[in-house]
Amino acid sequence: MTRILLVDDSDDVRRSMRAVLAGELGQVTIGEARDATEALALAGRESWDVVLLDLSLPDRSGMETLRDIRRLKPAPPVIVMSFHTEAEYTIAARAAGAAGYLAKGSASGVIAAAIQDALATTARAMD
């Protein structure tokens, strides 16, 4: 079962995302965090197949949080979600170790594809 950690401060967004993920990916376990502190705690405590990380967090910069998660051992792949669609964000997120970048407002299929892509990449790397 795919384990996904969902990090976003908006309860509405997390709720909607849960539904979309369940619909698109079938059997998934979803962990939720409302801010960077919770996210890092959960990411460190449990094992996740992928982390969906909103860049705009109330307590810390999303980019910094991304870097911290990528420093965990083992480090789960992180897909960044952001309201910002400027290419600079994509580049910066990639540079910080993101496995993908999703604009908020992306269609469900795009989100699912991004997650599957990240999982496939991880699996290849583990083989």
């Binding site: 976003d8 619909g23 407002g105 269609a107």
Partner: protein, 795 residues
């Protein structure tokens, strides 16, 4: 002595001559005595030959008188040196009485009291005579009367009796003091002659022609500077010392003198061994032998070198004076008392247009008459001439004006020789040019005076204060306004010293500026507060070599108005900065709201719509599915709008990714929007910049790019950012038409004003340079060290 019982015959000789002294004692021994008298020595000699005479007695008193009357000093001494008798001469000479002398040892007499040595010599002489050996010596005695030294030529000889036994010593002496003195005087006068020769530099010589023996005086050796030991005088030796230029003349003179046996006088130079040349004046005489031929030449030489040199100098001086007289620019005329020219120079003749052959001896009145018509006023000239020559003592200085415009200055003074006037010296100087110059200077002065009056009229009308100060800082002019501003009557200040009148101003900045303007001779304009009066003045200080002119205006109101304006500008700027900061904050808040609330809501809606659509797939009416698709599309539009508005309000990229990323994004946006190609020269994205600085530079970049798009007509724009330790520099350079200076200054160029104000708010500075046809470069430099503290954030 013959003893007899009969008659004792005594012959008295009354004439001077024979006889023996001291017979008194003998006579008393004779009982019966017969006296025979002889009147003369011849008779006495006859009586004696008769043989009947026992004793011859000469008239002792008479003999004594004779002996006493002679100058020879005669003394009879015992063989032991005691005085037995003396004649009058030594008593007179010594001032002693006979009893003070007779019966005393000769050497104990006062005559010898001065010298033990003399006493010893005399004692020895007497002893010698007493022993039979006559002695002659010169003895110095001292007069007992006046202490005067006397030289005595003395002889001591023994006196023997009939048995040839020495009974006494006879001494005689002659006073030779005068002769001695004369001898000494002779020696002294010879020395004096030599000394005189030495002092007068006169040497004497003698030349025996026959044997060529030449004798020189000591001084002549001195004159030739040769040593008597080294140089044996001879005619040839003499000639060898004569200066080569004078040898021919010397030999000619002497040959002539010898030939003619005539005295001669001539001057010639000699050369001393050390090469020094001396001039000698020689006088000689020729002494002829019996045949009338020259036997000896005697003469004397004076060393006249000093006189000769003085003469040479005098000649030189005279020629110098003459040359000076001719070289002078003045015309010189010297007249004697008789009114004749005694000297003049060529310049005088030229000045007076007189023939050049006129010279000493010409009649001055005649000269005056011949030139009087050249004068503008001949009668006046003649009258003054008469005045001058009427009074020998008169000194005059006057100006002579000529018909043709010449102007001469005349100085006339009596010429004096010692105390008396021997003539008159007139000097003439051509002052025509000077007079013309003076006239033109006077004309110019009058013009300047007129101009000055005109200026004064103007200066009195202006509202500025005006004062003129001379070099000694005294007022030479104060206009009415100036007087009012200084609180004085203008006329009362003239001639007064500025810092005496206004001591409170001494040392103030205006004072220093006056001094500086005067010292450097350059105008100074200054606006300064004058503390003593609590007023502001603007001074324009114009120096000249004669002093300074100062325009001054009370600008207190103006300064205060400017100060108010400046303060109000400051307030406005602060207000504007504050407003801008508030607006930025509002934007930031709004952008955040849009992101956090609207954006998240739209995100959730988008996901939900997507989920609903997936649930509806295939199981609902086509109309529902279509409506769901439309909602999805509307949500997409709303999200895009929210993203755009948020980014416009406050680009989150600036806060999230930094200035470089924000610039890169902005440039891409701009390029897409305007078509102007952006070249970037940026630091890496990681470089951190303080948020206030980053925001300011980003907003300036946005303004600059807006200007490029609106005005530049550029094809490319280069955007550079440089970050160093203490400053950040943003440059935006386009290749458009180039902004003009006018456009930069135009108040309506709000974009530029905004850029400047933004930079100013963080302590930065903006330079904008435009080159027509080449583009515009904007450079903003802001300090990164203080930027964070400036008031951009709302406080």
């Amino acid at each position: 002595m013959k003893q007899s019982n009969s008659v004792f015959r005594v012959l008295f000789v009354e004439e001077e001559g024979l006889g023996q002294p001291r017979v008194d004692g003998v006579l008393s021994l004779v009982e019966k005595t017969e006296y025979v008298r002889a009147g003369s020595l011849r008779e006495a000699r006859r009586l004696l030959q008769s043989g009947n005479i026992d004793l011859v007695v000469a008239d002792e008193s008479r003999l004594r008188r004779v002996i006493d009357s002679i100058f020879t000093l005669v003394g009879l001494f015992s063989v032991g040196g005691v005085v037995v008798d003396v004649n009058e001469a030594p008593l007179v000479a010594s001032g002693l009485r006979r009893d003070q002398v007779v019966g005393h040892r000769f050497i104990d007499l006062p005559w010898f009291a001065h010298s033990a040595a003399e006493r010893t010599r005399i004692e020895a002489a007497i002893a010698s005579a007493a022993a039979g050996e006559p002695v002659r010596l010169e003895a110095w005695i001292r007069s007992a009367r006046d202490g005067r030294p006397m030289c005595i030529d003395a002889a001591f000889s023994p006196l023997r009796d009939q048995n040839n036994l020495i009974t006494h010593v006879i001494g005689s002496g002659v006073d030779v003091t005068a002769r001695k003195k004369a001898e000494e005087g002779m020696v002294a006068s010879q020395a004096r002659l030599a000394e005189a020769q030495r002092v007068a530099h006169v040497g004497s010589w003698e030349w025996n022609v026959a044997d060529n023996h030449v004798n020189w005086s000591d001084e002549l050796f001195n004159i030739y500077a040769v040593d008597r030991a080294d140089f044996i005088p001879s005619y040839e030796g003499f000639l060898s010392r004569v200066d080569s230029e004078d040898v021919a003349h010397t030999t000619a003179v002497i040959r002539q003198a010898v030939q003619d046996v005539t005295p001669f006088i001539y001057d010639h130079r000699i050369r001393r061994p050390d090469g020094e040349v001396r001039m000698l004046h020689t006088r000689g005489e020729v002494i002829a032998d019996g045949a009338g031929k020259a036997a000896r030449l005697v003469g004397s030489c004076w060393d006249v070198t000093d006189r000769w040199r003085a003469t040479q100098q005098l000649e030189h001086s005279v020629s110098t004076l003459t040359a000076t007289l001719e070289a002078t620019a003045d015309g010189i005329l010297v007249g004697d008392r008789a009114g004749k020219v005694s000297a003049l120079n060529q310049r005088f003749l030229a000045m007076w247009r007189l023939p050049s052959e006129i010279g000493p001896g010409a009649d001055i009145r005649g000269l005056a008459d011949s030139v009087r018509d050249q004068l503008a006023d001949p009668d006046e000239f003649a009258r003054r001439f008469a005045d001058l020559y009427a009074d020998l003592e008169k000194e005059a200085h006057d100006i002579l004006r000529f018909k043709d415009g010449r102007v001469y200055e005349r100085y006339s003074k009596p010429q004096r020789l010692g105390d008396s006037v021997c003539g008159r010296v007139c000097s003439f100087r051509d002052v025509t040019q000077r007079e013309q110059l003076l006239a033109s200077v006077e004309a110019r002065r009058a013009e300047a005076e007129a101009a000055r009056k005109q200026y004064e009229v103007i200066l009195e009308r202006i509202s500025d204060g005006f004062t003129a100060l001379d070099r000694t800082w005294r007022y030479t002019y104060v206009n009415g306004s100036g007087g009012r501003m200084l609180g004085r009557k203008a006329a009362d200040l003239i001639g007064k010293h500025i810092w005496t009148e206004f001591p409170e101003g001494s040392g103030q900045k205006f004072h220093l500026a006056y001094e500086q303007a005067m010292a450097e001779q350059r105008p100074i304009q200054m606006r300064e507060y004058y503390p003593p009066w609590h007023r502001w003045f603007e001074n324009r200080i114009y120096p000249s070599p004669d002093g300074v002119s100062i325009f001054f205006t009370d600008v207190t109101e103006q300064v205060e108005a400017q100060e108010e304006l400046r303060a109000s500008n400051e307030q406005l700027r602060a207000l504007a900065a504050r407003l801008d900061a508030v607006r930025e904050e509002e934007r930031r808040v709004m952008a955040r709201e849009i992101h956090d609330q609207v954006g998240q809501a739209l995100t959730a809606i988008k996901l939900d719509v997507g989920w609903i659509r997936s649930q509806l797939a295939g199981g609902v009416a086509a109309a529902v599915d279509e409506r769901a698709r439309q909602v999805d599309a509307l949500v997409d539009q709303a999200i895009a709008t929210a993203q755009r508005v948020s980014a416009t309000l406050r680009p989150a990229i600036l806060d999230d990714l930094g200035l470089a990323a924000a610039i890169r994004w902005q440039a891409r946006e701009f390029q897409q929007r305007s078509g102007v190609v952006c070249d970037l020269d940026l630091p890496s994205d990681g470089a951190a910049t303080a948020p206030a600085i980053a925001l300011t530079l980003f907003r300036i970049l946005q303004e600059a790019l807006t200007n490029v798009a609106r005005h530049a007509q550029a094809r490319t724009v280069n955007i550079g950012l440089t970050l160093d330790a203490d400053s950040a520099v943003l440059s935006v350079a386009d290749d458009g038409r180039g902004v003009s200076a006018d456009e930069l200054e135009r108040p309506t160029s709000l974009g530029i004003v905004g850029i400047r104000e933004r930079a100013l708010a963080v302590g930065g500075a903006v330079t904008i340079q435009g080159s027509p046809g080449l583009g515009t470069t904007l450079t903003v430099r802001v300090p990164t060290t203080v930027g964070q503290t400036t008031a951009v954030h709302p406080a």
